[in-house]
C-alpha cells in the first residue's frame, strides 16, 4: 500500500478508451431499431456512463439535427469527438454503423420473406410505439431543461409549432430560430455562473 491513497482518488478525467466508445456505439446502433435512437444515446452516454452532461447533450442533439446528414451518425461524431477527438469520432461513427450494416447485409438476402410475415410487421409496430414513448421521455427532459426563462420557453414552443404542427421546412425554420435563440441566450452582463464548471467541480 502506498501512502495517502485518499488524495489521489480522482480518476474521473481519465480518457475513455476507444474500444469502450466503439462498444457502446455498436450497442446503441443495434438497439435503436424502431426509432428510439436519441433516448438510447442519452441513456448509455449520459445516464449510465456519465460521459457527458445533459446540458451538453441537448445542444448536441440540436446540432446533429440541424447539420446535414443523419442524426445518429452526427450525434456519434459529436460525442466521439468530445471524448477522444478525431479518433473518438471515427470510432463512434464506425460503431454506430457497423451493426446496422451487418444486419442489413444479412436481411437483404431474404427481405421478401421478412416483409410478408404479418406478425413481424405487427411486432415491429409495437416496438416502434414503445420507441416513440422513449423519445417522448427524452423530449420531456429536454422540455424541463428549457424551462429556464420566458424566452427559452417561447423559442421551444415556436420550434414545436413550426416543425411539429405546421411542418415548415426544417432548414429555413432553424436558419431563423437558431441565431435568434443563441443571440437571446448570450450571457451579457449577467455573469454566467462560470460555465466550464463541467471540468473541475470536483473540489467545489
Amino acid at each position: 500500500m502506498d501512502q495517502s491513497p485518499a488524495s489521489v482518488v480522482k480518476p474521473a478525467e481519465e480518457p475513455v478508451s476507444l474500444f469502450a466508445i466503439y462498444k457502446v456505439f455498436t450497442y446503441i446502433g443495434l438497439m435503436s431499431f424502431g426509432g428510439g435512437l436519441i433516448p438510447w444515446i442519452q441513456r448509455e452516454i449520459v445516464t449510465t456512463r456519465g460521459w457527458m452532461k445533459l446540458e451538453e447533450f441537448f445542444p448536441g442533439v440540436a446540432l446533429s439535427q440541424v447539420l446535414p446528414g443523419v442524426n445518429s451518425t452526427n450525434m456519434s461524431v459529436f460525442i466521439g469527438n468530445r471524448l477522444r477527438g478525431l479518433s473518438g469520432a471515427a470510432v463512434a461513427l464506425a460503431g454506430m454503423l457497423s451493426a446496422p450494416f451487418v444486419v442489413m447485409m444479412i436481411a437483404v438476402s431474404f427481405y421478401h420473406y421478412i416483409l410478408v410475415v404479418k406478425p413481424i410487421q405487427i411486432a415491429m409496430s409495437g416496438i416502434a410505439a414503445a420507441a416513440i414513448g422513449m423519445i417522448m421521455r427524452t423530449g420531456v427532459m429536454a422540455v424541463q431543461a428549457s424551462l429556464t426563462n420566458v424566452l427559452s420557453v417561447t423559442i421551444m414552443v415556436i420550434t414545436f409549432v413550426a416543425i411539429g404542427i405546421f411542418r415548415l421546412p426544417l432548414i429555413w425554420t432553424v436558419a431563423v430560430l437558431v441565431p435568434l435563440s443563441i443571440a437571446a441566450s448570450w450571457p451579457r452582463g449577467e455573469k454566467p455562473p462560470v460555465s466550464p464548471s463541467d471540468k473541475d467541480d470536483a473540489n467545489g
Binding site: M31, F33, G36, I38, F58, A62, L63, Q65, V66, L67, G69, V70, N74, V77, F78, L86, A89, L97, A99, F101, M104, M105, V108, P119, I120, Q121, M124, S125, G126, I127, A128, A129, A130, I132, G133, M134, I135, M136, T138, G139, V140, A142, V143, S146, T148, S152, M156, V157, T159, I163, L170, I171, V178, S181, I182, S185, P187, S195, P196, D198
Partner: protein, 182 residues
Amino acid sequence: MGDGGHLLTIIKILAPLSIASVGGAMGIYAPLEYQTVQVHGWVTAREFLDMLALTRFLPGPSSILGAVLAFKVAGFIGAIVAMLALYVPSSALCFAMSRIWVQSEGKAWHTAMKRGLTPIAAGLIMSGVLALFQLSGGKFLTGAVMVFAAGMLTWKKSLHPFPLLIAGASVFLAAWGVGLIQ
C-alpha cells in the same frame, strides 16, 4: 459493365445526398429513387419500395437504403463504398462543427449556444414524437403504448428500455391476435 464504373456511379449518386439530407432521411428518398430506379435502373420501383420498407424495420439510419441498393448492383464492395459515400461527407462536416464546439468551451458564445440550442432541441424532439406518432397511423393503441413507455421510464429511471420494446411488441401481437388491429 466494369465494377469500377458502378463504384464511381455509387459515389456520384450518394455523396451529394450525404450533405443534402438535412433533418433525416425523408428528404433523400425522392432523389435516390430517381437515380437508382429511373436513371440507372439498378432496381425496379417495386424492389425499391420493398427495400425501403426493410430499412424501416431494421436498426440503423434509413439512408442505409443507399447501401442496400449499391449491394444489389455492385456486391459487398459496392455496399462498403456506399456506406463511405453516404456517411463520410456529412460526418466530416459534423466533426468540424464539433471541434469548434469543444474548442470554444468557456467562451461566451459557447454558453449562448448551449442555452440557445436546448429549447430548439426540445421543440425538435417533441416534433419528432408527433411526426412518428402520426406516421404510425395515430392509432389509440400506439398512443397508449407510447404513453405507457414514457411513463414507465419517468417513474423508474433505471429501467432498461428493452423490456418496454418487448412489451410493446407483445401488446400489439395480442391485439392483433384478438382482431383489435389488422
